[in-house]
Each structure stands twice: as structure tokens, then as C-alpha cells.
Symmetry: none
Subunit: 270 residues, 2 copies
Amino acid sequence: MSKAKAPQMCDPHAPVVILVNPQLGQNIGTAARAMANFGLSELRLVEPRDGWPSEWAVKAASGADWILDGVQVFERLEDAIADLHHVYATTARPRGMTKTVITPADAGLDMRARAGRGQKLGILFGRERWGLNNEEVSLADVIITAPVNPRFASINIAQAVLLVAYEWYRHEAGERVGMETDEAPALTPGLKMPDSRPATKAELIGMFEHLESELDAAGFFRSPDMRPTIVRNLRNMFERAELSDQEVRSFRGLIRALSGNRQRHKNRKQ
Amino acid sequence: MSKAKAPQMCDPHAPVVILVNPQLGQNIGTAARAMANFGLSELRLVEPRDGWPSEWAVKAASGADWILDGVQVFERLEDAIADLHHVYATTARPRGMTKTVITPADAGLDMRARAGRGQKLGILFGRERWGLNNEEVSLADVIITAPVNPRFASINIAQAVLLVAYEWYRHEAGERVGMETDEAPALTPGLKMPDSRPATKAELIGMFEHLESELDAAGFFRSPDMRPTIVRNLRNMFERAELSDQEVRSFRGLIRALSGNRQRHKNRKQ
């Protein structure tokens, strides 16, 4: 069942996911996949309805087999959390309990801080039908409730695992897209192609002048009064695209191609 | 099929979710449920493999039936995005494309800012097996890539919908994300002209096809093998510029002007 695909990815400080009385093997598998997506690896089950192991779980895990292989099954929630220092309970609705309620985002930060201090953490997720009961919630230190559409608040269990795992992971990742190591996320249009560089302004202006002279030749600017405004708007449009040197060359080829026959035609007439 | 459970929850500014060639009805249903959790309601499908409607989808939607009832099915992605102003493509891995890549969190902020300016937005999600192809990605303005475990980067499609929908919703929900102002700045270049609006995708695609047909006529694509790549790069370049409707009209005028004499010359020869 195991693939060698993702070995040794266990972060000993990553929170343990505990599914209480899960009904469908498929949800267990999808939860395992979500854990794998976001760097969690320890999964515990309390009384899975259909027993364990589960072929449905394997199928839904899409290769996160090392997580399923490491699953521990418990009869009682108390035993499943016995070695943990701090436990979060996920609930969809307020419980009228005197207990701190935080968002997944705050939970992500809190888990990072606690893990950094060496605490072993766990997150409880309830049954598909009706979540965790009050006794189970009372075993947790803190409640996590996602901001959710109040008219449709019931989140699938694997989806809930995904959200909390995502919030755990993205703080580690420093929000680095795709974990491309030392590359910062591009918040403004950046050039991603490895073999190209941003065009210099000289290259860009050369392209503008090429385009504008062809437009002059083609009679594009009907009124001389309007020419400066139209030229400025066109230049703005291309500036916004933050062209690479390669793109400037391509675009000049395009201008030549479009105006090509007109040029050749003109030359013949001379 | 409909239940009266969640009426009138449509936020006309909420982004449209577009699933391209989804394989499993169950994933469509789970995606609809995730949308309902986070206040999205408009779902479009491009060529669902097993047809539409789908009993599997209904079962997996767990009551988000008003979303399934409102599904629109398209044969071509171009038609599915025709009325949209700004489109995000979700991808799991870098594409070597010259296109802005942002995280789901930044996408949430960006979508709020744009929706606040009246733009109609869409988010593309690819097939279960291998996501979106490069041509599909090139129709989008921006790429969304979640920070994810690089050794297990493939996110289930419904999970991906959940993440982006969550990031959209939590800003509405007023969760503080380190930004206290009520109006978030757009993270990608916005339009500055007061009397113009962003081009719709239909307008943009019309411009692309106009340009490409003129380039075909001019013999610009010397090798048929290279045509798709060159077309994609050109489209990406223009997508990046976020053209207004006015600019699309100007650029089409420019194409006509540049290719005009060639056309007239050709006509004379006929």
C-alpha cells in the first residue's frame, strides 16, 4: 500500500488530526490527502463506524498512503488525546460553552507558536452527521469555528481538515507560492520565465517608435491633434503588461508581419 | 430537487466558479457544497465528462441544491467566461508562463477589491487528473497557487474550490487579516480611466481572434508547430495588460490599420 513517494515528511511538531467516530472511509481518505497537502502526517481515529482499515479510504487518499499506514485507532477519545498538551475542537456552531472560540487563521498562528515551544497538539473533528458532542468538546482547550455562511454552515469533515491544515501550513510556508524556496511570492506582475528578463526601457521605446511609425504610415492617426493622446494611451497599455525582452522582439515581429505587405507594396511603387 | 433552505443568498458580486471538464459528479457536488459554505452560488461547467445533471453531484452537495439547479453547462471555456471581467486560474504547479501568481489569501483580497468596483469575476478549476492546460490558463488574468507541501501538491478539486471560496468569504466575514481599512487595494494592476470599464472576456477573445487571423493571413506563423505556443504567449501578454473595453476597440483599430493596405493590396490582385 505504501509508496516511497513522500518519505520522511513527518514534522514531529505538526498537530495530530483526530477524527471522532467518522462514518465514511472515503472521508477518512480525503482527510488524509488534505493532511498530506499541508504537511500533517499523524492521523488518529476514535471508533470509525465501518472499522479499519478501509479500502474506500485508500482509494480517496490518492497516494497519501503513509498517513493511512500510520493511523492509530482508539476506543475512547480520552485515550486518543492522552499524550497531547493542547487540543482544538472544530465546531460549526456556537456551543454556549465557556471556552475560547478562534478562527482557523488564528488557530494556525496559535499552533505554530505552541509547536515552537515544544507542545504536542491535536485537532478534533466530529462525525459527518452532527459533529462533536458537548462532552467531547469539553475535552478540548479551545474551539475552532470557521467564518461560514450562516445559512449553510455544515462543512464536510475532510474540508474542515483541509482548512485547518492549510492555516497551519501557510504560516510555515510564509505564504510562499508552491514552496519555490527562496523565491518571494509575486504580488505584482512578475516575469516568471527563467530564460527571459524584463525589457529595458530602451527596448520598449524602440518598440513604441516602430509601432507608431507604422501606424503613421498606415494613416491610423486621423487627426494630428489626437495623436499624442492616442500614443500615450497605447504606451500605457504596453507598460502595464511589463513585457520581457523576448516579448518585445515577438511584438516587433508581429508589427513587421502585419504591415509587411504594405511595406513591400510601397517599395515596389518607388 | 430544490429546497427552500437557503433562498436569496446570491451575492451578485460573488465570483463565478468554473469547473473545466470535471470527471466525477461527486466532486461537482462537493464543490457546490463548499461554495455554499462560503457564499458563492454561480457554478459553470465546461464539458463535464459524465454529462449533466448528475445524481452523484446531488448526493454530494448535501443540500446545496440551489447551486446545482443554477448550473450552466458550456462546450467551450471561451463561452463560459465571455461575460467576465477578470479571471483567475488555479494551478498546483508553476507553468513557466509570464503571468502573475498569487496565493489564495491574496486572491481573496483582490477579488473583494475588484467585486467592490463592480467587476464580474470567475475562478477556473481544472480536471481531477491533470488540471488546466496551458491554453486554458492563458485565458486567465492571474494564476492562484496555494502554498502546499511540494512532495504532495495535488489538491482535490473540491478542496481547491473550498480554499479559494474560504479566502473570498473570510474577508467579508470581517476576519482581520492584518488590514484594517474597509477597502482593500487591488493587488494586480487596475484600470485607471474613470470612463471605461474592464473588457469582458468575449471582447478580449474577439480581439485575439482578429489579431491571430490577420497574423495567419500575413504568414507570421512560419511553422504550424509553433503556432499554439506563440498564440499563447501573445494572449498572456495582453491578458497581463488588463485592457479596458476602449483599449480593445483601439487595438482592433490598430490591427485593421496595420493590416489594411495588405488587405487592400490583396483585394486589388483578386
